[in-house]
């Protein structure tokens, strides 16, 4: 068997080898390493480059805690700063105590500097508030995390996210001030701050004081308007509608409609005062209730004065002005009733506050020093010259009263007690009271008239008159009727005599005709005598024949 196979192979080879050519033979060159391995090497380099690029592009991973993960999605939600993506949400999970949501964010390499302690994060989502609508662009693109870059260099990996966007960010220029107020009013975070009705800032924070006595607000005023805030600047509530009904009448003050709706703060340096230097950052100011309250000068210490009135104080209210010939010097602080056991009389003390700087400079200077004697002397002199307090009606419709100070030279002298504190100024009743006294006196005189006796006499007189009338009715009335009947007959006879066609009528007519003829003759005679006066002596000459 083996023999035939070998034979067959040899025969085939011999058969094919004869006509086949031999290949060209060349010597083999030196051995070189195979270049095909460059391909996986290149692939490995590309893979390493891609991996390295991915690793280098990723920055630090931070954890932000929020109360809710509403709007956040892993691998989709971005972190944006000035609308530039600086990171992406990688993971969202609950904290161990289940009270918060921990959001793992991977920042880009360029944004590694955001991982510092004072950086702030918040979720930008659509918000509708009284101060406006924001974040509407996130309705389509989805919520994202906003960032406010911090300024420190201390690296931090865990942050507490803000639930609302911060009112101001670190890149906004301006200054922040602190206001103290009794009440928040209608202010809120975001309420505008006005200067001459131009919005220049807004409220960024508010909180109740620790002792509960007031409210502290932080406001931010943009540059360059913050230079208008000086150490003597006044702030007041510009929100709502200021409706005031007082002795001067009816006042309605309001700022812009925005301030009416969402509240606001206005500030200004008092007019007439020289501007002080600009207020430093984080200065503290008082927030007044309204502009009048803010502009009221509080530099000089107010003086407390007592007036004792002997009349009704109905219509006088706390806050009523104290007026000197039209200039408001102060206001009423309290109203009460006092009993003087020495004289056993009741009085109505009214305590008022006067502001000396409302008067002239010398007056303010006199009151500024703490010398009690100087103040007493000044008030004594003024009292001697007739300074008195008087209640006057400011508004007849509402019955509002105010305290008027004026000089009454003819007023009775009053002993002034310099040692009394607070000072007591003498008072005078007003003209209406005097008129009331006169009317009372008149009524007293009227009471002395004996109306009773007059009544009795009048009653007896009426009885006699009644009796007289009865006599007239029973006796004179019939006689009068008879008399009237006789008069009627007389008139009828006269009428018959005088009627047309009666003989008397004809006689009178003839008589009148003759009289007319006589008068005509006399008239002719008068004319002739006027033309020929000698006719009286010579008579009428005969006619020439």
């Amino acid at each position: 068997m083996t023999q035939p196979e070998t034979h067959q192979s040899d025969s085939a080879q011999q058969t094919l080898t004869a006509p086949l050519p031999a290949p060209v033979v060349e010597p083999r060159g030196r051995w070189v390493p195979s270049l095909v391995w460059l391909i996986p090497l290149l692939a490995a380099l590309i893979g390493i480059a891609l991996a390295g690029q991915a690793i280098l592009a990723s920055g630090p991973t931070i954890v932000i805690s929020f109360k809710t993960a509403e709007g956040l999605e892993p691998n989709i939600t971005k972190v944006k700063y000035k609308d530039v993506d600086i990171g992406e949400v990688k993971n969202i999970k609950l904290s161990e105590d289940l009270s918060q949501v921990l959001v793992a964010v991977e920042l880009t390499r360029n944004a590694a500097s955001f991982a510092v302690t004072d950086t702030r994060f918040w979720v930008v989502r659509p918000r509708i508030a009284a101060s406006g609508v924001s974040g509407l662009n996130t309705l389509l693109s989805g919520s994202y995390i906003g960032v406010d870059a911090g300024q420190t260099n201390q690296v931090c990996k865990e942050f507490t996210g803000l639930e609302t966007p911060p009112a101001i960010t670190g890149d906004q220029k301006g200054q922040q001030f602190t206001l103290h107020s009794d009440t928040l009013g209608s202010l809120d975070i975001g309420s505008p701050v006005y200067y001459r009705r131009v919005p220049v800032g807004r409220v960024v924070a508010s909180q109740l004081d620790k002792d509960g006595s007031g409210v502290t607000l932080s406001i931010f005023i943009h540059a360059p308007y913050d230079q208008y805030v000086r150490t003597n600047t006044r702030f007041w509530h510009a929100s709502g509608i200021n409706l005031n009904l007082n002795a001067n009448g009816f006042n309605l003050n309001t700022q812009s409609l925005v301030a009416v709706l969402i509240g606001g703060i206005a500030f200004q340096t008092p007019p007439g005062q020289t501007p002080n230097q600009a207020a430093p950052n984080n200065s503290h100011f008082q927030l007044a209730a309204d502009e009048a309250d803010a502009m009221r000068g509080t530099s000089a210490q107010p003086i407390r004065i007592v007036f004792n009135f002997a009349q009704s104080l109905r219509g006088l209210s706390v806050g009523a002005p104290v007026d000197f010939r039209g200039i408001t010097l102060g206001q009423v602080e309290s109203i009460g009733v006092d009993y003087n056991p020495k004289t056993q009389t009741l009085r109505m003390p009214v305590t008022a506050i006067l502001y000396p700087d409302r008067l002239s400079q010398s007056f303010a200077q006199a009151f500024n020093p703490k010398g009690q004697e100087q103040k007493a002397q000044l008030l004594t002199n003024l009292s001697k010259r007739g300074l008195r307090a008087q209640l006057r009606t400011g508004n007849l419709l509402t019955g509002q009263l105010y305290v008027a100070l004026d000089m009454f030279p003819k007023a009775a002298p009053v002993k002034f007690d310099p040692t009394r504190q607070p000072f007591e100024l003498p008072t005078l009743p007003n003209t209406l009271d005097q008129l009331q006294l006169q009317v009372t006196e008149l009524v007293r005189k009227l009471d002395k008239i004996p109306f009773d006796e007059i009544g009795l006499h009048l009653n007896s007189t009426l009885k006699r008159t009644n009796h007289l009338l009865q006599q007239l009715e029973t006796q004179l009335a019939p006689q009068a009727r008879d008399l009237l009947l006789s008069a009627q007959k007389t008139f009828d006879a006269a009428n018959a005599t005088l009627q047309q066609g009666s003989p008397l009528q004809a006689d009178i007519h003839q008589a009148l005709t003759a009289l007319t003829r006589t008068l005509q003759s006399l008239n002719a005679l008068a004319d002739y005598i006027e033309r020929h006066p000698e006719a009286l002596i010579h008579g009428k000459p005969r006619d020439n024949q």
Partner: protein, 210 residues
């Protein structure tokens, strides 16, 4: 009847012009044989076939990682920017109810490339170990890899088609990501690897037994 190969018969064909020459084993040890007609080099088996196949397979395997980890498609729309890898795209199709499409993309982009790499590795390893089992089946596997390999470009085709179609300027724009480049490289390197492999090396192991 014993099978006779061209190598045993002392014949060698030019791979370019198919001219048949006599083969002298003694000469090929220290010399290069060239075709007397076209001058191309003559060899009984592809030179360094296993080495070259391993090189291309390694490169394809290395690039397979970024092909699946980096995004292949980026969609910009008013709803935001979305990057999708092959797996996230398949998951998105599956979640939206497009099961047929998800299955198709999974087979073309995930299953076929992995199987190609696995099959080629199997063939090369078995040949290096002088294995003689299942020679007919292994040859059939090789032909299958050769025929199916180029269809892995389906995913690249879909991505490029989508990029070209969806281009509403400033509203919705789809661009290809770096993952697409890596995936294309994987497919091409797989094709080259299968071309470098000489299946006749598997059958030579039979002759070595005799």
């Amino acid at each position: 009847m014993k099978r006779l190969s061209a190598k045993q018969a002392g014949l060698v064909a030019c791979p370019i012009c198919q001219h048949v020459h006599r083969y002298e084993p003694a000469l090929s040890t220290h010399h290069h044989l060239h075709c007397m007609r076209c001058g191309h080099r003559l060899y009984l088996r592809k030179p360094n076939s296993l080495t070259r196949t391993w090189a291309f397979l390694s490169a394809a395997a290395i690039l397979y990682l970024p092909a699946n980890l980096l995004p292949v498609m980026r969609t910009q729309s008013p709803f935001g920017i979305r990057d999708d890898t092959i797996m996230s795209g398949i998951a998105l199709f599956w979640a939206n109810g497009s099961w047929a499409l998800a299955t198709l993309v999974f087979i073309a982009s995930i299953l076929v490339p992995l199987l190609k790499l696995a099959v080629l590795s199997l063939l090369v390893l078995s040949t290096q170990c002088k294995a003689t089992w299942q020679l007919r089946q292994r040859t059939a596997l090789y032909r299958l890899v050769e025929r199916v390999g180029r269809w892995s470009m389906l995913d690249i085709f879909v991505i490029m088609l989508t990029v070209g179609l969806v281009k509403f300027s400033s509203f919705t724009v789809i661009t290809a990501g770096p993952g697409a480049l890596a995936f294309g490289a994987v497919v091409i390197l797989s094709l080259l690897a299968s071309r470098q492999f000489d299946p006749r090396l598997m059958w030579d192991n039979l002759d070595s037994i005799d």
